[in-house]
């Protein structure tokens, strides 16, 4: 075996598995990632999958990160090449001094020529063909087998793997034995033929105590159950579908009356997104907490109804798990490309409350918050996550729930309150905060009013009178100012001596934090602000105004966050510079570091950033 070895890197390296989708590699990859996590070592699991069911290339990347970074790395140390179709590409991706593991059942030497890496051939197919029966079973076991090879090479605890298999297949014990047999085959082969472990290895620590591994869609679905949502209406669309699946699966366990067996929730698979948002609006109008989950194309279809809910002041919670656009785009790749579309969805003067969670734990926490804001403000709230948060595996602090939580249902009048009223005025600003009072059908005849998307006056009546129309529209703006005080404020890390900063949102957070640490190590110091809600609070403008240069980091081509900041704050355009990542892969720290260093060198003032 040739090649210069990489320096020993305990608990800090990247494994990437290239396989064909629909061949069972997902369970092997999950098993590996979880085993490392169970050894107390933080991981980042990224699944790069095709918009396809079977037969197309798919990759899973496990970043082992003792520093607990939360983004992908830009380089790969070990590649497991299980897909002949992508061999050449996968080979090229290995960092110099890294390793390539391939199935040596068939000769592939011509393709595998690279002198600066170590190539390890394992006859996976041959071993599995000799040990298992059935075509499908052999394919599945071949993929489990490489997990055993990696366990030997990287010193991953076999007992941990066995325990995990036991948990996964608790109801199918036969599968535990066959899977373990395949793992042992790979493990033994590696032990006998290679020098194990490699310098890239796992060492047990305790860095994941109190942590869980979960994806954002699962967290959001769970959050909606805890938020008290009772109606979920949706139309299937990648990458949001698993959010509704999660809600249903949790509700099936947590929301079924033990005595009657009846459901304390309603799930509706709509005929399209136009219907799903209509259902959400109808249910919220009628006093239930209702939500939908969708992605960019669904947001496009929902525009008309979102405008109706804005103008008629009906709460709604819409999860937008963003994917690559425009149009159908790349449905299984990630982007933050709906920032602008969500903020100003629909025709006419409309602006919408948006939340930008950065991680699964924030998806969970922002679920009740989204409903509270929607009902307090009587308006749609769009929660913008993305495929990276929604469908990838994240190490998060274990979610906690405070049982003293009381949902904020906003200004809903009760039958007793209505009985004392002579007249109910639906759109009248009693409190000076721009938020009117609301009634729910079936409560009291005095509370009845007519909801209409056509012109209406502050009493709830139809109008085509200029003055009456404008009173309502101006009050809606006042409500918007109130919203700015209620959405979660931006998170700010600020040293007043610094005059450069990064401003970002959502899933960029992990990459930004790692970039800041790497820049700091190079002597470049920046402050950081992550916006979490729209409308922006006054702290956003204040922070940006305190910096000569704000790097706006986001994952879209057209600088949509910067566009919002330009429109909605007084920050000068010249004090903002974009760092944009929009190729469909999640952003990584190196990209931001390069962007910042480039700008710093361009402006030739790096000295100003050096802090003693």
């Amino acid at each position: 075996m040739p090649a210069a070895q990489v320096a020993s890197r305990v608990n800090d390296f990247v494994i990437k598995i290239a396989s064909v989708n629909g061949t069972g590699s997902a369970s092997a990859n999950g098993l590996l990632m979880k085993s490392i996590f169970r050894s107390g070592v933080p991981v980042v699991g990224k699944n790069y999958f095709p918009s396809n069911i079977q037969g197309m290339p798919t990759w899973y990347e496990i970043r082992v990160t003792h520093d607990n970074y939360r983004c992908r790395a830009s380089s790969v140390d070990i590649v497991v090449a299980m897909n002949a179709e992508t061999y050449a590409k996968d080979l090229a991706e290995v960092t110099s001094g890294g390793y390539l593991i391939y199935d040596s059942t068939w000769p592939r030497s011509a393709l595998l020529k690279r002198d600066d890496i170590t190539v390890l051939g394992v006859p996976l197919a041959r071993m599995c063909n000799e040990s298992f029966n059935g075509v499908r079973n052999r394919i599945l076991m071949k993929n489990i087998c490489y997990a055993g090879v990696l366990a030997a090479l990287c010193d991953i605890d076999l007992d941990q793997i066995r325990t995990l298999l036991g948990e996964t297949y608790a109801k199918k014990p036969a599968l535990i034995d066959s899977n373990m047999k395949a793992i042992q085959l790979g493990y033994d082969y590696a032990k006998q033929n290679f020098q194990c472990p490699l310098p890239l290895r796992i060492e047990k620590t305790n860095a994941t105590a109190g942590q869980i591994v979960i994806d954002g869609n699962t967290a959001a679905g769970l959050g909606c159950v805890y938020a008290g949502a009772t109606v979920g209406a949706w139309y299937p669309i990648t990458p949001s579908t698993s959010l509704m699946d999660a809600y249903k699966s949790f509700a099936d366990k947590m929301r079924v009356d033990p005595k009657t067996g009846r459901r304390n929730f309603v799930m509706i698979q709509a005929e399209d997104e136009l219907a799903s948002i209509g259902m959400v609006i109808g249910a919220n109008w009628n006093g239930a907490r209702a939500f939908t989950a969708t992605s960019g194309p669904g947001i496009s279809l929902m525009q008309e109804f979102i405008g109706l809910a804005y103008y008629t002041e009906i709460p709604a919670v819409i999860w937008d798990v963003q994917r690559v656009g425009p149009s159908t785009g790349m449905p299984t790749r990630t982007q933050q490309c709906d920032i602008r579309a969500a903020a100003y969805a629909s025709h006419g003067d409309t602006r919408h409350v948006c939340l930008y969670p950065a991680s699964p734990e924030e998806c969970f926490e922002m679920a009740p918050l989204a409903f509270d804001l929607a009902e307090r403000l009587q308006t749609p709230v769009l929660v913008l996550t993305d495929l990276d948060i929604g469908m990838n595996d994240w190490v998060c602090p274990e979610f906690k729930w405070d049982d003293s939580y009381v949902p904020d249902r906003g200004k809903v009048l009760s039958a007793e309150q209505l009985a004392k009223l002579e007249k109910f005025w639906r759109y009248y600003d009693h409190d000076g905060d721009g938020i009117p009072q609301r009634t729910v059908p079936g409560t009291h005849p005095t509370g009845a009013y007519f909801t209409r998307g056509s012109g209406h006056n502050q009493y709830g009546g139809y109008t085509e009178d200029s003055k009456e129309y404008q009173i309502v529209l101006d009050r809606l703006r006042k409500k918007w100012m109130t919203a700015a005080k209620l959405v979660p404020p931006a998170l700010i890390e600020q040293d007043p001596r610094l005059d450069m900063a990064i401003v970002s949102l959502g899933s960029c957070d992990g990459a930004v934090k790692e970039a800041l640490a790497r820049l700091k190590a190079q002597g470049v110091h920046l402050n950081y602000m992550r916006v979490r809600g729209f409308p922006f609070g006054e702290e956003v403008e204040r922070f940006m105004g305190a910096h000569k240069m704000n790097f706006i980091v986001e994952q879209n081509r057209d600088a949509q966050l910067r566009a919002l900041l330009t429109l909605e704050t007084g920050v000068q355009k010249g004090n903002m510079k974009s760092i944009l990542h929009y190729n469909g892969m999640p952003i990584h720290a190196g990209y931001i570091v390069r962007g910042v260093m480039q700008a710093v060198q361009d402006t030739q003032r790096p000295a100003a950033q050096l802090v003693g």
Binding site: I212, Y226, V231, F250, R263, A275, G278, N286, F305, T451
Partner: protein, 351 residues
């Protein structure tokens, strides 16, 4: 203007229903439709039916899309909430509203433009879900608010006011609803209150989706010679197949028909519809036979009317979902919150 309130003058001798309310208590704002519009007669029939059924006004939820017909939800039962939503999408709003509270009466009012073109998909899917609602389709064959274009229900050969002849076949909501499996499908005529009121009363008691397609001539844009939806043409070509009487729960049947001519059908709440066959060959409980007869009559340019198909046994939306009897919007948070301990247990598998 629908915000205008009619002066409410009540005469002490006005008849009262079981709740002590008069018909005036079920009225709404003044209609802004054209004088003589068929829709206003339908509104009056809805008022009469709600009063006769002694429904608490606040338990009536009125939903509509966009169009002349959709405006009428403001003109009846002012004590109930109304929702004039977006064009063609009333069924989805009704679905969500019904999901939130299964205990109210949902009356959707739509038109042929709203339901059969832009809203055809939502109309069909509300039927598939067997949403528990009354769906009034006020059918005039024309787009009124945009001044006289043909709708998807216009008959072949019918002429527009300016002389254009329609050459595309109509979508018949009645045939469509029967095909899709609706359990209560009726057709009526805005000018026949005696037929329409018991149909609406029965539809409100039917558990599931109840369609009433009401031929409702547009006096302004579709009441001329050459139109197959004019008052004159409709009167000459509508034929009652089944006359329906509605008998509320625990009330004796007082109408008498000759032996073999009347078929009582019991609804889930104990109320009954008495189906009096005007057309002896017609069987409103036989889906395929009913459909065949409607098609046959259509070929002869006749509209069959009455309760054309009934099957009260199909599970409705909430039964299919297995929903709790307590409406979703009345479940206290204590019941909805799985609790911190459950969360810790649930997250164990993510450790």
């Amino acid at each position: 203007m629908s915000f205008m309130v009619k002066p409410k003058v009540t005469h002490p001798d006005l008849p009262k229903n079981e709740l002590g309310l008069t018909r005036r208590d079920y009225e709404g704002a003044n209609s802004t439709l054209c004088a003589g519009c068929g829709h206003d007669s339908i509104t009056a029939a809805i008022v009469e039916a709600c009063w006769a059924n002694s429904v608490p006004p606040q338990d009536v939820v009125k939903l509509s899309g966009i169009g002349c017909s959709s405006k009428t939800t403001a003109y009846f039962v002012r004590g109930g909430h109304g929702f004039n939503s977006v064009h063609g999408r009333m069924p989805s709003v009704a679905t969500g509203a019904s999901a939130a509270n299964r205990s109210l009466y949902y009356i959707g009012v739509s038109g042929d433009g709203d339901s059969l073109s832009i809203g055809l998909g939502q109309f069909c899917h509300a039927i598939r879900r067997n949403l528990n609602m009354v769906y009034m389709l006020e059918n005039n064959g024309v787009y009124g608010l945009t001044k006289g274009q043909f709708s998807a229900s216009a008959d072949v050969g019918s002429t527009a006011k300016k002389g254009e002849v329609n050459n595309q076949p109509p979508i018949d909501p009645v045939q469509l609803a029967i095909t899709l499996g609706a359990g209560f499908v009726a057709r009526s005529f805005s000018g026949d209150k005696a037929q329409l009121v018991p149909l609406i009363r029965a539809a409100m008691h039917h558990k599931g989706f109840a369609l009433i397609d009401v031929l409702s001539p547009c006096v302004t844009f579709n009441d001329h010679e050459g139109s197959t939806r004019s008052y004159l043409y409709t009167r000459e070509h509508y034929e009652e197949a089944v006359h329906t009487d509605f008998v509320p729960p625990a009330q004796p049947i007082s109408v008498s028909y000759a032996e073999g001519q009347s078929l009582p059908v019991t609804l889930h709440d104990g109320s009954r519809v008495l189906l009096h066959k005007v057309d002896q060959d017609y069987d409103p409980t036989d889906r395929s036979a009913a459909l065949a007869r409607i098609v046959e009559k259509q070929k002869q340019n006749e509209y069959l009317t009455g309760l054309l198909y009934i099957n009260p046994e199909q599970p409705e939306f909430h039964e299919l979902n297995g929903s709790s009897d307590v409406p979703m919007n009345r479940l206290p948070y204590a019941v909805l919150n799985p609790g911190a301990a459950t969360l810790a247990r649930t997250l164990a598998r993510y450790r």
